[in-house]
Subunit: 614 residues, 2 copies
C-alpha cells in the first residue's frame, strides 16, 4: 500500500477540520476549535505512522491511539470517518446524541477506543500502562500514541506518567502535546513557550521534540524519529486553536463552543469545502504477544486458629494466582506492607514498581487491562483516595482492574489517621459496577483473591494490618455476593454483622454475650458489594430483627449503609444498630482505637444488650 | 539574641537524632532513620533561619514549617523539645500513644503544626497555599519552609506545587528535599542523582540548590540564599538515611522501624549520648497582615419562577460574600463554568487561578485556611474526585475549606459520563466532619453560600448545570441541617424527596399526581449532611411512611442512603423507594439522560403509584 503524500495529508487534515466543525455544529455542542488545532498532527499520524488494521481492532499487533484531550472527540470521530469505520451519516446524526456510541468524550463503547477520557491528565498515564505491556509483557513492536492538551500538563498525573515512562524506558510511547496556548477560560500558564515545556520534559527523562504543529514535514519527521528513538518521545507541537478558520483561530472565547450554523458554513468554505477522502495508514507489523507458561493455581492453605493478617494472605494468594500467566501486579512502593512483594519475588517479570504515584498506579493497571492482562494494584487503602478520579474513569473505561488496599481503619494503630482508610468503602461502593470485598481471615482472603482474578470491572479488596485467627477451613467457598454465618444457635436473639477486623470483634462480643446466656448469630459480610441480602434477611428473621452492624469506617457510605440499602431494597427496612467510627482518631494501639471509636467487642455487647432491652 | 554557631548546631543535630531514636524506641514504632537523615537540615533551620516566636504560635509574623515527609515526626517532635515547648517526658511517654498529641504523623492538634501530613506529596502543595497568603494577601515577610522526602517527588502533586510556586513567584517558599535515596522498600527511582532532581526543579521554574545535606555550612548558605532569592527555592540535600549510627546508616531494611532497645543504646553512644540543649532561633520580623476594607454582604435576590442555574447563583453569591475581606476564591481553570469568575472579576486580588490541578486547588485552599482566610475552591464536581486524598487530609488538618462542584450528575447532558459527578455525594459525606449541601434553586444557593463562609470543616456544595425555576422568596432562610417542605396538602399520600435537579423532577411528578387526585408532599433535602431527620420523620408520619427519594447520583452513599441512615438512626426504619442512577450513562439531553437513569418525573410518578398500590 502506498503511503499518502504530504499533499494528500494536507487535504485529509482539512477534511478532519471540516468534519469537526460539521458534527459539533450539528450536535449543538462540542469542541471544534480544540480539534482544529490538532488536525494536522492527527492527519500525519493517521496517514503515515499509525499502524492499525481498521478491520481488526482486536489485532494484538495494532498500534494504540489515546486521546488524552478527550474533548477533541470531533477530531477523533472524523478520523474514524476518514478510515471508513464510521459513516458520515453516523458522524452527523450521532455525535453527542442519546443512545449513540459517538459520545461527548470517547469511551470504549467504540471498538477503536482503549480507554475513556475527558477527565484530563489520564490518557497519558493510561498510555504508560499500555506501553508497559508492549515492552515488557507482549514484547510486540506496537506503538502507543497519545494526543495531549497543553492545559492538562498542569495535572501532576502527567508528570507521574513521564517519570514512569522514562524510568521504564518506554521508547514505544509517544506523547503529542497540542500546544494551542488557550485553555477553557483563557491563556495557559506557559503559552507557546515550547522551551519551558521542553525543559520539563527533558528533566523528566523523555525526548522533547518542539515542532511547528501545522508544518506537515516537521510533524512527519518528528513522528518518524519517535518511532526510532530509544526513550519516550514528547512532541511539543506549537499550534493555533481553531486553525484554519480566521474568525476563531487563536481567539479566546471559543473553547467548547460549536460554531453557529452560519459561521460553520463560512468555516467550511474557508477550509476548502467538504471532502470525503478515505485513507488507510500502514498495517501493523504483525506478531502475537509472547506466551508464557501457564501453571496450576494452588492457593495457600491456612490452619484454622492460626493468626494470619489478611494482607499477608493477600500477598501469598496473589503469588499463587500468578500461576496464571496473564496476572500482573503493581504496587506504590509499599509492597512489603501490602505483601504484593510475594508476587514480585515469584514473578518479577510481571511486576511493576510504580513508586509513590497512586494515580499512575491505577492508570497503569487500566492500561494493562487494555492489553488483556489481569492487573492487581496494591497500596495502603487510604492512598487509593489519591486515585479516585482514575478509579471512577476506569469504570467508564470498562476496565477490569483489581485493587487491594491494606492497613484499613483505626485498627492500624500508632501511625494515626493519615494512614487510616475510613472512607474507602464509601468511595469504592459508589463506583459504577464495582465489587467491594473485605475478608476477615486468611482462608476467605485466599479464595477471594482468586475470585478477583476472574471478575470484571473495578474490584476492590480491603485488608487489615494485624494478624487475627483463621476462621474457616481451606476448602470453604466464598462466592462474591455471599456471606457466612460464622456462629449460630437455635436460640439466637441478636445478629452481629461485621467484616474484616470487626468480625473478630463480633465474635468476641458473641462470646461475652454467651456467658450471659444470650445467643448471638455472627454474620461475616465479606462481600460488601454486592451484599448478601438473603443472608441479611435470614439473620433478621432468625433474631427478631435485632441487627447490629459494626465497621471500621466512618458512618457514611460503608458497610452499615450497604446493609440498610439492602434491607430497604428487599422491602424489609429493619432497624440496625450501626457502630462506626464517628470521631477523628489519633494514635494508639488497635484495641485502644477501636474502643475509642465505638466498634470494639465491648461496644457491640452494649449495643446488643440495648436491643434486648438490657 | 545571639545566633548559635555551627558547632552548637552540630550538637543540636545530634540531640535531634538521639531524641528521634529514643522516642521511637520507647513507642515501639516510628521512623527514626528518616528523621536522622534530615536532622542536620532541621538543626540549621531551627537554630539560624526559622523565625518563630515559640511562645506565640499565633503570631501572624511567624515563619511556617511543614513536614511534608510527616513520617519524620520523631525529628519534628525532637525539635519541639529543643525549643522547650514539649518536655522530654512528654516526648518519651507520649509519642504515638493513645490520647497524646504527639501522633504518629503530625496533626494540628499541636499548636505549632499547620496541617496534617503523612499522606505524601501534600505538605508542599499545602505550603504553596500558605505562601500565596504571605505574598498576595497578608503581604508579610514570613517564610514557608517545607521538609520533603525524596520518595514523595514521585507524586504528581509535588510538581503541581512547584509549577504553581514558580507561576506565582513564591520566593517566600523553600522546599528542602531530604534525598536519602532510600524509600520504604528500597532505593528510590533517582537515588542520589541530584542533577536529575535539579533538572526537574529548574524545568518547573524553581531554584534548585544541590548540597551535601550533612555539611552544616552548605546547608546554612543554602538557607540564607533562599531567604534572599527572587523565586521559590528547592534545596536538594544529599543525605544518608539513619545518618550517625553506623549499624543502620544508608542501609536498606530500616524504613519505619524503631531500633530495638540494645541497638538504640549503641546508637545513642555513637551519637555522643543524650543532650538536653535548648535553643531558640531568630524572632519573626513582626508586622500584621494587610487589612482590607470590609463591606456589607448583600446577597443577590432572585425572582421566584425565573430560571437560574444554581452554579450561576453560586458565582453571584460568592461575589457578594466577597464583601468580607477574608473570603478568597480559587478555581481549576473552569471559572466560566463554575461561575467563580464572578468573584474573580469583583476581587481579582483575592482570586487564584490554579489551572487544571485539582490537588493543588484543594491544597491551596487548605494553606489559605491556615492563615485564617475563608477559601472557596471551585471546579466541576466530577473533578474533585482528583483531590479526594487532599480533602480527606483537610479534615484531619481541621482545615476550614469550602468546595463547590458544578455540573453534577447526568443532568449535564451531552458531555457524557467523564464529566458527570455520580460519586461525589458519597465521597464528600464520608469525610470526617463534612457538610454537604445540594441546593435546587438560586435563592437557597445564595443563602447557603453565605452559610458556607461561616462554617468550619470541609463544606461542599453541589451545583447544577442547567437553569431551573427559582422556588423560594429572597428572604427565606435555609439553615444547614434543615429541609424545606416545598409542597404539601392535608391529604398528602406520599412524600417525594429530592435535592438539586431531582427536586424539580419531584415537583413535576407532584403536578402529575395531583392531576390524578393524589396529594404528594415534596421535600427539598438541600442539606444532605447533616440531614434534617425531623423533617423526614414528619413527612413519613404525614404520608403513611410512603417515601420516595430521587437523586442524580449512583445509588451508594448518596442522598438515598443518607435518608435511610437518618431514619434508621431515629429508630424509624421506614421503607424508601430509592431512585438513583444505576446504569452507566452516555451522552444525550438532560431529559433523555434523567429518563434513562430512572430519576425523571415519570419515574417518580410510577414509584408513587407503586407505593400506593396503583
Amino acid at each position: 500500500m502506498t503511503v499518502p503524500s504530504l499533499d494528500e495529508v494536507r487535504e485529509l487534515a482539512q477534511q478532519l477540520r471540516v468534519d469537526s466543525v460539521r458534527c459539533s455544529t450539528a450536535a449543538g455542542s462540542g469542541h471544534p476549535t480544540s480539534s482544529m488545532s490538532a488536525a494536522d498532527l492527527m492527519a500525519v499520524l493517521l496517514a503515515r505512522h499509525f499502524r492499525y488494521d481498521w478491520d481488526r481492532p482486536d489485532d494484538p499487533a495494532n498500534d494504540h491511539l489515546i486521546f488524552s484531550k478527550g474533548h477533541a472527540s470531533p477530531l477523533l470521530y472524523a478520523m474514524f470517518k476518514a478510515v471508513g469505520v464510521v459513516s458520515d451519516d453516523e458522524l452527523m446524526t450521532g455525535y453527542r446524541r442519546f443512545g449513540s456510541r459517538l459520545e461527548g468524550h470517547p469511551t470504549p463503547v467504540l471498538p477503536w477506543v482503549d480507554v475513556a477520557t475527558g477527565s484530563l491528565g489520564q490518557g497519558l498515564p493510561d498510555g504508560v500502562g499500555v506501553a508497559l505491556a508492549g515492552r515488557y509483557l507482549d514484547e510486540l513492536p506496537y506503538r502507543v500514541w497519545v494526543l495531549c492538551g497543553d492545559s492538562e500538563t498542569a495535572e501532576g498525573s502527567m508528570w507521574e506518567a513521564l517519570d514512569k515512562a522514562s524510568y521504564y524506558r518506554l521508547a514505544n510511547l509517544t506523547a503529542i502535546v497540542d500546544v494551542n496556548r488557550l485553555g477553557q477560560r483563557g491563556p495557559t500558564e506557559l503559552g507557546w513557550d515550547l522551551d519551558a515545556y521542553a525543559r520539563r520534559v527533558e528533566g523528566f527523562g523523555c525526548r522533547a521534540v518542539p515542532i511547528d504543529g501545522h508544518d506537515l514535514a516537521d510533524i512527519d519527521k518528528a513522528m518518524a524519529d519517535a518511532a526510532g528513538a530509544d526513550r519516550p518521545t514528547v512532541i511539543l507541537a506549537r499550534t493555533r486553536k481553531g486553525r484554519g478558520f480566521s474568525e476563531v483561530e487563536d481567539r479566546e472565547g471559543w473553547h467548547g463552543r460549536p460554531l453557529p450554523a452560519e459561521m460553520a458554513e463560512r468555516a467550511i468554505v474557508e477550509l476548502g469545502g467538504e471532502r470525503h477522502i478515505t485513507v488507510r495508514g500502514p498495517d501493523p507489523e504483525g506478531g502475537t504477544p509472547r506466551e508464557r507458561p501457564s501453571g496450576e493455581v494452588s492457593l495457600p492453605r491456612y490452619e484454622p486458629g492460626a493468626k494470619v493478617a489478611t494482607r499477608k494472605a493477600f500477598g501469598e494468594s496473589l503469588a499463587a494466582v500468578g500461576a496464571r500467566p496473564d496476572v500482573v501486579a503493581l504496587d506504590g512502593e509499599v509492597d512489603n506492607s501490602t505483601h504484593a512483594e510475594d508476587f514480585a519475588k515469584a514473578y518479577p517479570e510481571r511486576y511493576f514498581e510504580i513508586y509513590i504515584a497512586e494515580q499512575q498506579l491505577v492508570a497503569a493497571a487500566v492500561g494493562l487491562s487494555v492489553r488483556g492482562y489481569v492487573p492487581f494494584a496494591a497500596t495502603f487503602a487510604a492512598f487509593f483516595t489519591r486515585a479516585y478520579d482514575f478509579i471512577r474513569m476506569a469504570a467508564i473505561s470498562e476496565a477490569d482492574i483489581r485493587l487491594c488496599g491494606s492497613h484499613a481503619g483505626t485498627e492500624i494503630g500508632a501511625d494515626g489517621p493519615s494512614q487510616m482508610a475510613l472512607e474507602d468503602l464509601a468511595m469504592m461502593r459508589a463506583v459504577h459496577g464495582s465489587t467491594v470485598l473485605y475478608p476477615s481471615d486468611a482462608a476467605s482472603t485466599a479464595y477471594l483473591v482468586q475470585e478477583m482474578a476472574g471478575r470484571g470491572g473495578v474490584v476492590y479488596m480491603r485488608t487489615t494490618r494485624g494478624a487475627y485467627p483463621v476462621l474457616y477451613g481451606p476448602d470453604e467457598a466464598f462466592p462474591v455476593g455471599g456471606a457466612k454465618v460464622v456462629r449460630s444457635g437455635p436460640d439466637d436473639q441478636v445478629t452481629l454483622a461485621g467484616a474484616g477486623v470487626t468480625l473478630h470483634n463480633c465474635l468476641a462480643a458473641a462470646d461475652e454475650l454467651a456467658r450471659d446466656g444470650i445467643g448471638a448469630r455472627v454474620l461475616d459480610l465479606y462481600s460488601v458489594k454486592p451484599i448478601d441480602t438473603q443472608a441479611l434477611l435470614a439473620a433478621a428473621a432468625a433474631t427478631g430483627d435485632r441487627l447490629i452492624v459494626a465497621e471500621d469506617h466512618y458512618p457514611a457510605g460503608g458497610l452499615g449503609e450497604a446493609v440498610l440499602e439492602a434491607l430497604n431494597g428487599a422491602g424489609h427496612p429493619a432497624r440496625v444498630a450501626h457502630l462506626a467510627v464517628t470521631g477523628l482518631p489519633g494514635s494508639g494501639t488497635p484495641a485502644e482505637l477501636m474502643e475509642a471509636a465505638g466498634i470494639s467487642a465491648g461496644h457491640i455487647v452494649r449495643a446488643a444488650r440495648g436491643l434486648l432491652g438490657g
